[in-house]
């Protein structure tokens, strides 16, 4: 079956422009997560969704970052007025409850470069 897909795989944008990153989760997965990973670093949590609701947005770095999820499926992470410090790999994961645990399945990521 299809895994988590993300698009685009690479995005180069100029400072100050807006970008949209897309995540297609595994079909039927109720939870969807966004993370950011800087070069060689661990994962920085941004936001997660249960269905279309976002119970925890605590990781969003500033009000330039927003995300939505529609139809309990596709999610879009939007970064407005991009800055150079936004350059990173943005990872999406989806999961569904199994035996009381949520095991996350990750997409390949979108590498964002802000010039």
């Amino acid at each position: 079956g299809a895994g988590v897909s993300q698009s685009p795989s690479n995005k180069v944008t100029e400072k100050g422009k807006d970008v949209e990153l897309r995540c297609d989760p595994i079909s039927g997965h109720t939870a969807l997560y966004w993370y950011r990973q800087s070069l060689g670093q661990g994962l920085e949590f941004l936001i997660y969704f249960q269905g279309n609701s976002a119970p925890d947005k605590s990781g969003l770095p500033s009000d330039r970052f927003s995300a939505e999820r529609t139809g309990g499926s596709v999610s879009t992470l939007t970064i407005q007025r991009t800055q150079q410090e936004d350059s990173a790999v943005y990872l999406c994961a989806s999961s569904s409850r199994r035996d009381g645990t949520y095991e996350q399945y990750f997409g390949p990521g979108t590498r964002l470069t802000v010039t």
Partner: protein, 112 residues
């Protein structure tokens, strides 16, 4: 705030050596997962441990969950170059089980 510290941060070894990666916290988790990430890819789930004291084996990899469910270890026997990657532990709960707290990561390089 729940934090998961991993040690060591970096590990470079020769093929055939054994190694252990540690994942420690002062918080209790309802379950703990281990992921491996290779360059240019997303993390891939290796194992989930749920019960305190639980030991799981995956070929040459042995995972243990601490009795108090605050820590975990990953032991690799006879490491191979294919084991190279970033290893991440991630804890869930104990109250909010659908959000994982990821560890700081251990970058392993195995040389032939």
């Amino acid at each position: 705030t729940q934090l998961l510290e991993q040690s060591p941060q970096f590990l470079s070894i020769q093929e055939g050596e054994n190694l252990t990666v540690y994942c420690n916290s002062s918080s209790v988790f309802s379950s703990l997962q281990w992921y491996r990430q290779e360059p240019g890819e997303g993390p891939v789930l290796l194992v989930t441990v749920v019960t305190g004291g639980e030991v799981k084996k995956l070929k040459r990899l042995t995972f243990q969950f601490g009795d108090a469910r605050k820590d975990s270890s990953l032991h690799i026997t006879a490491a191979q170059p294919g084991d190279t990657g970033l290893y991440l532990c991630a804890g869930a709960g104990p109250y909010n089980t659908d959000k994982l707290i990821f560890g700081t990561g251990t970058r392993l390089q195995v040389f032939p």
